[in-house]
Amino acid sequence: MTTDAERPLLRVRDLKTHFTLKAGGLFSGTRKVLKAVDGVSFDLAPGEVLGIVGESGCGKSTVGRTLTRLEDATGGTAEFDGQEMLSLSKADFRPLRREIQMIFQDPFASLNPRLTIEQTLSEPVRIHGLETTREAIRERIARTLTQVGLDPKVMSRHPHEFSGGQRQRIGIARVMIVEPKLVIADEAVSALDVSIQAQVLNLIKDLQTESGISMLFISHDLGVVRHICDRVAVMYLGRIVETAPRATLFSAPSHPYTKLLLASIPRIRPGRVAAEDRGEPASAAAPPPGCPFHPRCGLATDICRSERPLPVDLGNGQFSACHHAGNQQGEAA
């Protein structure tokens, strides 16, 4: 929970990540700008898990990649532990690399198939100088493998000898072994079968609770997000349209897009009121003017077509970037 007295671990303000695309054919030379992230602000408290949800192309992964410096920010600031980090040179950012770690969707793609698990896990320990002797490194690896539910004996094996769930555990071990303060998980369980997904989700939740790590949990799966996050930010075409504590977001969503998203999930238990057909999102390379959601919104009026809405404080930590937020409580979107 964020309190005024507590300094957030991460403070992101007006973050922008734009990409330049070539458009109009090979030789025309015209350039188009894809505003993948276009003015995103949020705080992350120590020990908090913030979910970032949204559909493909909304920019949620780019937020994560920008905060780990895998992409260059076009604008805005991000303070980590009080230090502005987006303007740091690569060299000055290096010490922060240990503290900010990322878990990816496909652990296999990020594990070197020729290295044993021991080699894979000892690399970050040596690079960051966490242990010096061979025995100490081995001991740390064994401890971390146990922590993620693997037998330390698997150290001598190669990635292909593991199942998908075990590989994701190894991916998590590689993150946990350097004792980060912030973990950014990008669709960390999306590639796993449900029975395995539940095991890995429980593991992530346990590790987070035990270590008090802060986490940005990026996912398209609202069920998974509800299970693991304290607070949720909903993104649409490069912007956060709603932020709310978990319970509020799922029981009393405010933004029409959040409502559409929740109404669209196929439910196992009957009783859902089917979502209206509201078309598909515009391309992030050509977002609509005003509120990016207005072409799909049942509440849209003139102001929505011309002016970009700012977040409206609805109290109790809920913010909705909607011109009609607050005047339509209880109405369906």
């Binding site: 493909s56 449900v194 395995i196 429980n202 799922f250 559409l260 999930i265 196992i268 238990r269 979502a275």
Partner: protein
């Protein structure tokens, strides 16, 4: 329907194996189900359970793969597809039965306009002039609710959104007015708001045409909302099948229960997700008795020794388990 009319599709004792280095590794065992017109059967299960191979076998698409049909019958309107002459079988595929897949972008050719691709599909199966086929293509695009079909017919696949591309694939599948449509993870690559639209489209098309549908998915939510009947597969076997409502009201197989419980749902808070311990054994790993026993809390000696036969629980609900859950569990 009259009593004498056979089901639209009747799969009886289908077994499939992968040929590897001179030996056959069973991947689908003694699989039986039937489907009537206007009915939707959902096949659900995790990777490697055999659900997609089953659909490929029905469609006759195993040629060129190491997978062999090692037993059983696939009766389409009473005729066994497996013993039909190849020419006759090809005529049925794409006309009387067709299939849509997960990834429309890989099934559409990026360098041809969608209209040309639909026209080609139509003319592959029906003798028709190009002009008539083009008119039919527009009609098909209208059927799948593509706005401005006259204008969109000359688009290239990359100019369409993911949802629109899947609509084009469905239009192509409908070209021969099929009586059976197999949809293999048709919405898995789509965003959730678009998924809802495509599932609704498929249901609408079914009420318009009366086709029978087999929907294959790993997503129990998708299956629960769309299907009349559900078959749950685990390691090559249907372990439980029932009418949708009956299945969710009275799960009898511990795997079905475990699968349902391990899904985090957007409408409820659980402190800790129940899990199924372990993992699905690899195809090359031999498991005696019930294939689920190494992960099952109810397993006893008999489960380790004997593969359970199918038990009828009544009301069309059946399962393979030595210790089924109590109906009110």
């Amino acid at each position: 329907m009259t009593q004498s009319k056979p089901p639209l599709l009747d799969v009886r004792g289908l077994s499939l194996s992968i040929a590897t280095g001179g030996s056959l590794m069973p991947v689908v065992r003694d699989l039986s189900f039937s489907l009537n017109a206007s009915e939707t059967l959902g096949i659900v299960g995790e990777s490697g359970c055999g659900k997609s191979l089953t659909s490929l076998a029905i469609m006759g698409l195993l040629e060129g793969t190491p997978v062999r049909v090692t037993g059983g019958e696939i009766l389409f309107e009473g005729r066994d597809l497996l013993t039909l002459p190849a020419r006759e079988r090809r005529r049925i595929m794409g006309n009387e039965m067709s299939m849509i897949f997960q990834e429309p972008m890989t099934s559409l050719n990026p360098v041809y306009r969608i209209g040309d691709q639909i026209v080609e599909t139509i003319r592959e199966h029906q003798p028709m002039s190009k002009t008539a086929a083009r008119a039919r293509a527009v009609e098909l695009l209208r059927m799948v609710r593509i706005p401005d079909p006259q204008g969109r017919i000359d688009s290239y696949p990359h100019q369409l959104s993911g949802g629109m591309r899947q609509r084009v694939m469905i239009a192509m599948a409908l070209a021969g007015s099929p009586r059976l449509l197999i949809a293999d993870e048709p919405t898995t690559a789509l965003d959730v708001t678009v998924q809802a639209q495509i599932l609704k489209l498929i249901a609408d098309l079914q009420s318009e045409t009366g086709m029978g549908i087999i929907l294959i998915s790993h997503d129990l939510g998708v299956i629960a909302e769309t299907c009349d009947r559900i078959a749950v597969m685990y390691r090559g076997r249907v372990v439980e099948s029932a009418q949708t409502r009956d299945l969710f009201a009275r799960m009898r197989h511990p795997y079905t229960r475990g699968l349902l419980d391990s899904i985090p749902e957007p409408d409820e808070d659980v402190e800790r997700l129940p899990t199924i311990p372990g993992r699905v054994p690899g195809l090359d790993e031999r498991v005696d008795g019930c294939a689920f026993h190494p992960r099952c809390a109810r397993a006893s000696d008999i489960c380790r020794e004997q593969d359970p036969a199918e038990t009828a629980f009544g009301g069309g609900h059946a399962g393979r388990c030595h210790h089924p859950l109590e109906p009110d569990a």
